[in-house]
Subunit: 351 residues, 2 copies
DNA sequence: ACAAGTCTTGAGAACGCTAACAAGATGCGC
DNA sequence: GCGCATCTTGTTAGCGTTCTCAAGACTTGT
C-alpha cells in the first residue's frame, strides 16, 4: 500500500530555498534578523512545498509545545453525559479555548481528571509529562484544588484558574459571582420581592460561596432576612427538586428563588408547577448559567449569563502571552450579565 | 525563578534500573521479549520515579503519535456558539472520543475547519502535518467531502466518516438514518396519522437524504402520499419556523411533522402554538437528535436518539486497532432509537 | 579608512524516544 | 556435546526542530 507522500520537512525547504535549516526556522518563527529578500524567498519555498512544522519536533527541540491543556472534572462530565444532561459548560469552554488557541497557532487538549480521587496528582502529573503543555486551564472544582495548583506551581507551568477570585499562584479568572448574586437578588428586590430563597451550589466550589455572599449583601442592604432561605444542591436536577421543596415547605411566603444552575432552576420550576404555583405570577425564578435549555422552557427563564467561552478565551490569551519569569499572577474579572426573560415578575400584591 | 524539577526521562529510569534505554522502552510498550524479573525491576523504577514517556519524543522516533484528530465544521460550530444555540453534538462526539482515546492511551484533538472554503485542503493538510495523527474522525458534512477524503486516503492516514453509509475509502459509521426515518414515520402511521410532513436537513448532508428515503418508504408501505409534504431546513431554528409554516399553510389536514433536528422541531412547536394547534392533540411531532433541550419543552418531545458518543467511540476504537495495511474499510451501523415522550398522540378523530 | 559594534547566516549539538541491527545467552534436537 | 534457532539485552542511528555558538558581512563614528 502506498503510504502517500512523505511529510515535508524543514530540510527540504532549506534546500529548495538554498539556505540553511536555521534560516528557515527563523523565518517560520518570525525571527528578528533575516534580510527581507531572503525571507521572501524562504516564504515562497514554504508556500510552494506546503511546509508546516511538526509540533512534536518543535516540542522536542526544547522550546514551546504549542499546547494548552484544559482540565475538566471527569466524574461530573461523565455523569452529565450518561444522563444526557447536557454539558454546555464543557462546550463553551472548549470553544473559547480552541478558537483562541488556533488564533495563536496553539492547540488545546482536554484531559478529564477526578478531583476527588487520591490519584489527582498522579493523573495530572502524567498528563503534564506526556504533553508538556505551555499552559494549563483549570476549571472548577479543580481551580481550588491545592494539590493541583501546587503541583503546577512547583513544575513552573503557567496556569489559569477559571471561576476563582483568589490571587495566585496562577492567573485567576472570575465571573464576578458575588456581583452576579447581588445583581440577581437586587433585581428581585426591585420587583418588590421580600422573601427570596437561594439554592446554592456545593461548598466545594468556591463560587457557590461567593454567590451566597452577593445574595446576602443585597438582602442586607434592604434589611431583609436570610434565615431559612438557603438550600444547597449539587447543580444537578434532583438536588434542585429537593432544595426547592425544602424552601417552599419552610417558607409559605416565599415569592422568589435564585438557583445556582439552570438544572436546579428547571427543577424548581417543576416543583412550583406541581404545587400549583404559577411562574412568574406566584413565584419568580432566576437561574445561573443561561445554557440553551432555558430559552425553551415554559416560561423561558430569566438567567445570569456566564461568559464562559469569553473567560476561557481570556485565560488562554494570558497563558500564551505569558513570559516565563513574569511578575505576579493577575486576577481577572469577566462580568456576568442578567438576561431577563419571562420567569420574573413583580411580587404578588405589588403595584 | 526555579523552573521546578526536570521531567523524568527514559534515561534516568534506565540508570535507576541498571538496564539499557531500549529495555525500558520495551517494558513501557509491552514489548514481547523481556524476562519477567527484569520487567518487574524496570516497572518498579518507573513507578518510583514517576516516569511517563513524552508524547512528542514518541512521535519523533517515527512510531505512532497517539493522537486522533477530530474534524468539525468551524462555520457551524461558531454559529451555534455565537447564538448560544447549544452544541450538544460537538459535546457528545468529544466525550465519546476523549473517553475512548484515553482508554487506549491516546489523546483526541479537535480541529475546526471550513468545509466550504477553498482552503479546506490547505487547512486539513496543515493540521495533519503539524499533528501527524494516527487517525482522523470526520463529522458531517466533512464526511462527504471528496477533497478531504481523498487527501486523507492519499496520505495513508486511517480515517472514519461519521454519519456516512457509503463504503470506503475510510471507515463509515452510520446511525441508520434511513431506518430512523422509517421508524419515526411508521410510529406515526401506527398512531393513525395519514398526512405526515417532513422537515429535512440540508441536501449537503447525505444523511438528510437517507432520512427522507426512510420517510418515503414508510409512507409508500401504507400507500400514503408524499406530495407537498417535504420541506428543507438547515437544522437551525429559523429555518424550522419557515418550513413548519410552509407545511401547515400547504396542508390544512396535516396531523404530524417529523423534524430532522431538535431546533427545527422546537420551531415547529412554536409555530403550532402560534396557530392555536395543541401538541400533541392536534399535531404530533417527532424530532431528531434528542439533545437535552427536548426533555424540558412543553410538551417534552418524542425524538430519535442519535447515539453520537457511542458512534464516535466506535470510530476511535476502529482507528486505534487498525493495522496499517488492513483490508477494506467497513461500514458500521450504530442504530438509533425512538424515545417516546409527550409530543406524539393518536391522530385526531382516531379511536 | 579603521576599530568596534551590529546584522545576518550557518554549523553542530541536543531534545527523548524507538527501529534496526548486533551480540551474547539459552534452549533444542540429535 | 555440537550446531542451529530462539530469546534476551544492548548499541547505534536517526526522527525534525531549535538552541548555542561562531564566523562573515555590513554599519557607524571618528
Amino acid at each position: 500500500m502506498a503510504r502517500g507522500r512523505k511529510t515535508v520537512t524543514i530540510r527540504e525547504v532549506a534546500e529548495d530555498a538554498g539556505v540553511s535549516l536555521q534560516t528557515v526556522s527563523r523565518v517560520v518563527n518570525g525571527g528578528p534578523n533575516v534580510r527581507p529578500q531572503l525571507r521572501d524567498k524562504v516564504r515562497a519555498s514554504i508556500e510552494r512545498l506546503g511546509y508546516v512544522p511538526s509540533l512534536a519536533a518543535q516540542r522536542m527541540s526544547g522550546s514551546r509545545s504549542y499546547i494548552i491543556l484544559a482540565i475538566n472534572d471527569r466524574e461530573r462530565t461523565l455523569a452529565d453525559w450518561r444522563e444526557r444532561r447536557g454539558t454546555d459548560w464543557v462546550d463553551q469552554m472548549l470553544l473559547g479555548g480552541i478558537l483562541t488557541c488556533s488564533k495563536h497557532g496553539y492547540r488545546m487538549m482536554v484531559e478529564l481528571i477526578d478531583t476527588h480521587s487520591d490519584h489527582v496528582e498522579r493523573e495530572l502529573s502524567a498528563a503534564i509529562s506526556a504533553l508538556q503543555p505551555d499552559g494549563v486551564v483549570l476549571t472548577p472544582p479543580h481551580s481550588e484544588n491545592r494539590l493541583i495548583t501546587e503541583l503546577l506551581a512547583e513544575r513552573g507551568i503557567p496556569f489559569a484558574r477559571i471561576g476563582s477570585n483568589t490571587p495566585g499562584p496562577g492567573i485567576a479568572l472570575t465571573m464576578g459571582d458575588e456581583g452576579a448574586g447581588h445583581l440577581a437578588t437586587s433585581r428581585l428586590i426591585e420587583l418588590g420581592h421580600r422573601r427570596i430563597g437561594m439554592i446554592a451550589g456545593p461548598a466545594q466550589y468556591s463560587l457557590s460561596g461567593w454567590r451566597i455572599e452577593g445574595w446576602k449583601r443585597a438582602l442586607a442592604e434592604y434589611g431583609l432576612p436570610v434565615e431559612g432561605l438557603l438550600e444547597t444542591g449539587d447543580f444537578g436536577y434532583e438536588s434542585g427538586t429537593r432544595a426547592a421543596r425544602a424552601l417552599l415547605d419552610r417558607n409559605p411566603d416565599l415569592t422568589a428563588i435564585i438557583a445556582s444552575s439552570d438544572q436546579m432552576a428547571l427543577a424548581a420550576l417543576e416543583v412550583a408547577r406541581d404545587r400549583g404555583l404559577s411562574v412568574p405570577r406566584d413565584l419568580s425564578l432566576i437561574s445561573f448559567d443561561n445554557t440553551p435549555i432555558v430559552r425553551f422552557t415554559n416560561p423561558p427563564l430569566t438567567a445570569i449569563d456566564q461568559p464562559i467561552a469569553e473567560t476561557v478565551s481570556r485565560a488562554v490569551e494570558q497563558l500564551i502571552a505569558r513570559e516565563p519569569a513574569d511578575d505576579g499572577d493577575p486576577v481577572i474579572e469577566v462580568a456576568a450579565a442578567l438576561v431577563e426573560r419571562s420567569s420574573t415578575a413583580p411580587a404578588p400584591g405589588t403595584a
